[in-house]
Amino acid sequence: MDELKLIVQAPPHIRSPLTTKKIMFTVVLALIPAASAGVVFFGMRALLHMVLSIASAVITEFVLQRLLRKKVTISDGSAVLTGLLLGMNLPVTAPLWIGVVGSAFAISIVKHAFGGLGQNFMNPALAARAMLMAAWPSQMVQWVTPLDAIATATPLAIAKAGIPDTATLPLLWDMFIGFIGGSIGETSALALLVGGIYLIYKELIDYRIPLAYLGTVFILASVFGADGLNSGIFHLLAGGVMIGAIFMATDYVTSPSTASGRWIYGIGCGLITIMIRFWGSYPEGVSFSILLMNIVAPLIERFTVPRKFGEVKKK
């Protein structure tokens, strides 16, 4: 009887060059166009906000991990990403300490209280933004126009206040480039799309979620909006839908991992965003809708589990 010659090797047997660090910093790279647009439009203060948010996130993580006697993982870039995303979600006029407080909250409570990287159930940057909006509402809504920094209202706020009048609403083209009031990183749909396409090309985000989210927003806005297809485009370019759909809703940790689950999740986000924008108290619904879908995600996952190999559906 031949003795089988077995070569024993320790797992893992399939290796990928993708590390957490690589993923995080690639996403940061994809955000650079939009972040730069923010600095161009809103000046050095915008840069300061982003730097402070990132610094606060990294320092909080360092201190916490030391205190909890865990391995310090600030070099994996996840804190940097959270800080950057939060910074980009602030209005440039906000007090400089707001990003610091927000980042600290995001990293300590939303991320590490739940166990750290990969274990949070809510997107930390978004949860922090929602917290900041609830805690300091007046400081979080002082918008200015790009370049000349005159106080203004966001396109969504204008639309919410009254019947959309094409004279007072910004041109769609301005909204595409980003020439409107809004938070530092959310105004330029163009810059965000560039980043998004790069991430899809690098296979770091699943196209399903942004497609479902943006698609739902476009369709619902066109149907229920006052201006048909123009309303559809308006709502795609207004507010935080672009940055939300591309960079926040796609967070692997807080979205379902099944393909059909992702479609449902994206559609749900779009649905709630439009619901709040059209019929709720707030002019913008992106943050809330993604957070609400974060909560529902585990249930979606449960109910879209694919059949196990060989399993036959019970009749």
Partner: protein, 196 residues
Amino acid sequence: MQFVSILIAGILINNFIFVKFLGICPFLGVSQKVETAVGMGVAVTFVMTVASGVTWLIQHYILEQFGIPFMQTVAFILVVAALVQFVEMVIQKVSPTLYQALGVYLPLITTNCAVLGVTVLNIQADYNFFYAMVNGFASALGFLLAITLMAGVREKLAFSSIPKALQGFPMAFITAGLMAMAFYGFQGLFKDFLIL
């Protein structure tokens, strides 16, 4: 129209758990698994709906007729206690597994602030008999939604390495706090259409 308004308000806008703080004990105690959470939610829905109806009748035909409105607390809580006994017997017959799973939390529905709470709120809001029951039903659905969502999240968290001091109740409260924050989005929803 008022029917739909009460439904939406009860489930999303004035959610008993995330906005009114009623029903927290079972919300925290029975939300570790989705199936049990749903079971508790359904039981509570039944109790709240029926209790809303019965207490309304007692308030208007007994307490007010005899001029003893101050007996409300005593009368209402006795109604709730009796109802819960009844529901306990039914569940024991119909689904012994659910009965086992809910354990001590089933008789504790009596002390669930949400049940007594909604019966008192119905009277304060001056609803008629039908809307009192609708409100009881809607508020219970809000509770059911909250407890189911919480169970979904907690099942996911079961594998997390939460810091020791936060394990258990602290984490449950923090989670609920983040969920309450998300529910803010529903404030003012449909307010131009809602008649309450």
